[in-house]
Symmetry: C2
């Protein structure tokens, strides 16, 4: 998982999915588990198989995994209808294998960061796309590296020529350096603070792994330090051999100064002057997706897509192999039913094992670029299962252990009160680019869902499971501390498989557009509360936005009524197709390719990420916040433009839900 | 018609339509005329009714026409299922009613251009969006005002401070001033040269109207002098009351210096120093579309759209009222069948009477912006009939007069040799923004067609019918010289109605994707001939483009084979829907919203207009031409980028035609 700050808000969800749209028809239901007749789930051995060797993108381990997946998906008894590999040539970032990156403090302290202290045979990136360089300067603590952190620090200190040390969280990885550079900061260190990840535990004698799920002092959290997703040299184009590549100097959204992640053990050792010797360099390398399909019986031209990435930092037992295990298990169960002639879904199912996700969701993004038209026209939904389980010993009871259902657990530990339904399981929003759903929802406007089983947040303040992106994310760690017995893996496999089957097989798509209306109404009321007066002071009326949301609600109610009044199974197949098309294309109606022209791949005006930190329309929130802060006429114009874009998109969505002519 | 240079290339076509895609199934066939059972066509009285008063956009005459059309379309016996008006507030350009624009030569000669010399009660724009100003300078003749014209002129003359006089043709209207300004030219006059429009005739005693179809010496050809289409203050947004409007200073693509069209009588009178007094000014005004629908019986969520604009310069008997007459006649005939319960099309039909076309295709563009999602998802085709007849006494025989068919005339006077079919009727390409099809094909990627009956080009060199955009385009002119007896109007009504009914009613859409492949192959072979070596010299291979076109051809052949092997009427309705969706969405697959970021509304990478003047892929042609001329590395990069965009689009189109999973 290329986890970014934007995902943090949704980690509390047991099932995290975009929009309330999916919620009504199955999210909330106490559905049967279609996969329950197949209890022979074998994620344990799969996970062991998948995590034996490191499988960073383009490593020999990655290629082994490709072969392993192809073998499984081409298995004559349990494979899919078809499976193949697709190759892209993408821009990745690696350390120099001969000259390790180094952090030096005076004469006395020095540490190399290329072979991993926890796993010495592995040479691999720590901060992908962080530039090479040799900054040396006084160390300053810059909190989370947010713009406000540097702004405040600069009130009392001259930051020019300093090296900033920041902790993970609160700001995207690259942002910590991008925000620093304007103040003259020449290098950035990033560490994982035990208060953010370990509930304060930091002793390697008895508090951290292998004694618990907490990260040991030497653990280093890696990551990709780019802010756009997809191959950076081929924006909007699939990265084939002959594809045009932009000049490297035109790349935006990467750190302008050398940056290096370190463990908290080292962070606490650093004082005074620090020197960084960073030798990272970029290379064009091949990376593969593995694709598999089950052909639909009735509507082969409608796709439900299910995916996860394959590459990891070091071993990646949880991220991503927990998700890969689940995917392989789902394909094995469904594949066997298909091969035995017992079942074939109404719609087609496409499985994708994405390459190079950790470098910026590259495999999935290139796939959406290459098949843009076809996927836009035909995809019903995308399901992502990446970190299937991040539960640990603090986990809520899993269904397997006491036979309470996912529904019961979900509504107990993560709920909200809906105006329409009362207390229901809560669902987060996919407003960021945390994993491979990003290109599907933000670029293509395909309704998407990210599923994982998570921990009880009242029991830990951990930002994410502590071994995340470190060399400690191993089979041993996962089997001891994350999911002993792998029962939660089973639960996720059954849940995801269930969702997949309902999407692929139900006559009427299990989407509820009135739930979407509820979300828009929530966003609207927040926008009115925050922005009405400020906009009015600049002669901009928020009223047309109210009208648009009201129209959306009416159109949704009309469609719901039409569905209730219909006997779809016994009417012409074109009627249910028509209604399904309205539901399928609803998220597409929110796309506007010129809404955010400087943000590659963000076209969805409801779910785009936002810096404003408000539960409301992202484009309007960001533009308003900026205008209110600068007071510039041009910024108020942009706020008005964002408002008009939003109104037109919501009206357009209402039109697609409304009477078809 | 907002006719521009780009349309010139297609005037030779009897039926002008985008892509060969429509050709195969009905374009070439000697089809029956479905409308032939209704011979009571009444375009004559319609035309008289429509042209009694001037109906420039926002004029009282325009409002009268709106009311007239609503009355017709809401008629209980011959109206449509539903009809209504839709209002936009758009940025238009008008002269000052109190202070006429003036051209002055020394002391002796002066002419006012606000009330029309031919039609004194009409005060209206000559050059919409040409700025106000009072330039005075030496007059220089600058041919057609092309970049090369000014470049050559500047070799021998200092153009600074001069007023250029140019003739219509060879360059877009605004271009004549945009190209001039960098040389210091301070004003531009544009006239219609008798050699270009009148076959050299210029006497008002016996050679020109009212003695013939030729334009009298006083005739002035008006036009809109903007290069982008749609409301200029609200790009990509429907121009509602509250919509954000860009600052006027940010408008691009309009003349930077005062510009005035004049008649050739005046052009020949001008010598030496000339002074222009231009008082044009811009205003926000309401403009309406009139919409009407016939609901489809089987697939109401599939639309065939038929449209024409309603506004004209002065009376506009031909442009647009010949087309409006035809549309009213088609709606009357179809409406009556529907009201009598005798017929209802399989798919829905939407009729649009667009406002403010002459100012830059504004009504149709705002419509596509407002209903973007719904129209993208559901539109099968757009048919435009604007200038229905521009035939005059030079016309080819019309079917009415000697009962030869449209097909016979078409193949006789305008044919080509196809590799697949031999000699067939020729079809032009809609590569420009000549009329309201522009937003449909270039912005939305909806397969479009523009139909008009034209003259025998071996008999006249006229750029277009001579009264075009002058006050002489009247009912009298049309009934005497363009279409005596209005038989060609009938022919066009039957042809357009026939096409419309086939699109709306046939089980399988009458699209032939193999004809599209033939066009792509033609473009490819031209591109290879012109660009292979030059690209190779910059390490850019054209081979992947060959592969993409080959893949498209295979996919098209596969789909054709599937259609031939199917018994669609007796298989599941979802099968023909699936195939129809592939055909319908084929043109959509060629859209790329980031291909031409500085050209509003151009997203179709095959049919976008091009300056290179080659029958090949426009983006590649323009980028290559530029790179070859400047030799700059960045320009070669752009050529490579355009090539990659093109390859990806063609591959994407091949994917949509290919096996659906």
């Amino acid at each position: 998982t290329m986890l970014k700050k934007v995902l943090l808000g949704s980690l509390g969800a047991a099932l995290v999915l975009t929009a309330g749209i999916l919620l009504g028809h199955f999210g909330i239901q106490r559905g049967s588990t279609h996969l329950s007749h197949d209890r022979s789930l074998v994620p344990m051995c799969l996970s062991r198989e998948l995590t034996k060797v490191p499988h960073m993108a383009t490593s020999p381990g990655d290629e082994q995994t490709v072969q392993y997946m192809l073998k499984r998906w081409q298995d004559p008894d349990t494979g899919l209808d078809q499976a193949w590999r697709e190759e892209y040539k993408v821009y990745l970032s690696f350390p120099d294998p001969n000259t390790p990156n180094k952090v030096t403090v005076g004469e006395s302290w020095e540490k190399a960061y290329s072979s991993d202290q926890e796993d010495p045979e592995v040479v691999q990136p720590y901060a992908a796309y962080a530039p090479a360089g040799h900054p040396k300067g006084r160390l300053v603590y810059a909190n989370q590296g947010k713009p406000s952190d540097y702004f405040l620090l600069n009130q009392t200190l001259n930051l020019t020529g300093t090296v900033a040390i920041t902790r993970y969280g609160g700001e995207g990885r690259a942002g910590k350096a991008i925000n620093a550079a304007p103040y003259g900061v020449i290098g950035v260190l990033v560490y994982t603070d035990p208060w953010d990840i370990n509930d304060g535990k930091m002793s390697d004698n008895n508090e951290t792994y292998p004694y618990s799920w907490y990260m040991p002092p030497s653990g280093v959290e890696r990551g990709s330090f780019n802010t756009h997703y997809g191959d950076m040299l081929t924006p909007y184009l699939a990265a084939k051999d002959d594809t045009y590549r932009i000049p490297e100097k035109n790349i935006t959204g990467i750190p302008p100064i050398p940056t290096q992640p370190i463990g908290f053990e080292d962070a606490y050792a650093l004082i005074c002057d620090v020197k960084l010797d960073i030798y990272n360099r970029e290379e064009l390398k091949n990376s593969a997706n593995v694709m598999g399909v089950i052909r639909g019986s009735v509507e082969p031209d409608r796709y439900v897509i299910y995916g996860n990435h394959r590459d990891s930092w070091v071993h990646g037992a949880i991220d991503p192999s927990s998700g890969t295990s689940v995917m392989l298990e789902v394909t094995r169960v469904l594949g066997r039913m298909v091969k035995q002639g017992k079942w074939r879904p109404r719609r087609s199912i496409i499985f994708g094992s994405w390459g190079a996700e950790e470098f910026g969701l590259i495999g999935s993004t290139e796939y959406t670029e290459e098949y843009y038209s076809k996927l836009s026209e035909r995809s019903v939904a995308y399901i992502n299962v990446d970190i299937a389980c991040l539960i640990a010993f603090l986990q809520v009871k899993t269904p397997g252990s006491d036979s309470s259902s996912v529904y019961d657990n979900w509504i107990r530990y993560f709920n909200r009160t809906s105006p329409a339904y009362g207390v229901i399981p809560n669902v987060g929003f996919l407003t960021g680019a945390g994993s491979d759903y990003a290109a599907f929802i933000h670029f293509l406007g395909i309704t998407s869902m990210d599923i994982s089983y998570t921990y009880d947040r009242t029991k830990t303040r951990a930002r994410i499971y502590p071994a995340y992106h470190t060399a400690y994310d191993t089979f041993d760690y996962a089997s001891k501390f994350i999911d002993p017995g792998f029962t939660s893996h089973q639960t996720v496999a059954r849940t995801a498989g269930n969702v997949l089957m309902r999407l692929a097989d139900s006559l009427l798509l299990p989407f509820n557009c009135s739930d979407y209306a509820e979300t828009l109404e929530g966003y609207l009321s927040k926008a009115m509360e925050l922005y009405t007066d400020g906009l009015a002071a600049h002669m901009i009326s928020i009223e047309p936005l109210q009208t648009a949301v009201r129209n959306f609600r009416s159109a949704a109610a009309r469609l719901d009524q039409l569905i209730r009044d219909s006997d779809l199974a016994n009417e012409t197949p074109l009627k249910v197709r028509r209604i399904n098309d309205q539901l399928m294309l609803l998220d597409r109606a929110f796309l506007d390719p010129v809404a955010f022209p400087d943000r590659y791949g963000y076209r969805h005006v409801i779910w785009a990420s936002s810096k404003a930190g408000q539960a409301t329309f992202p484009g309007l929130a960001d533009a308003y916040t900026r205008a209110a802060s600068t007071g510039l006429d041009n910024d108020w114009k942009e706020a008005h433009r964002q408002l008009s874009i939003l109104i037109q998109a919501i009206q357009g969505a209402a039109h697609t839900l409304g009477d078809t002519i």
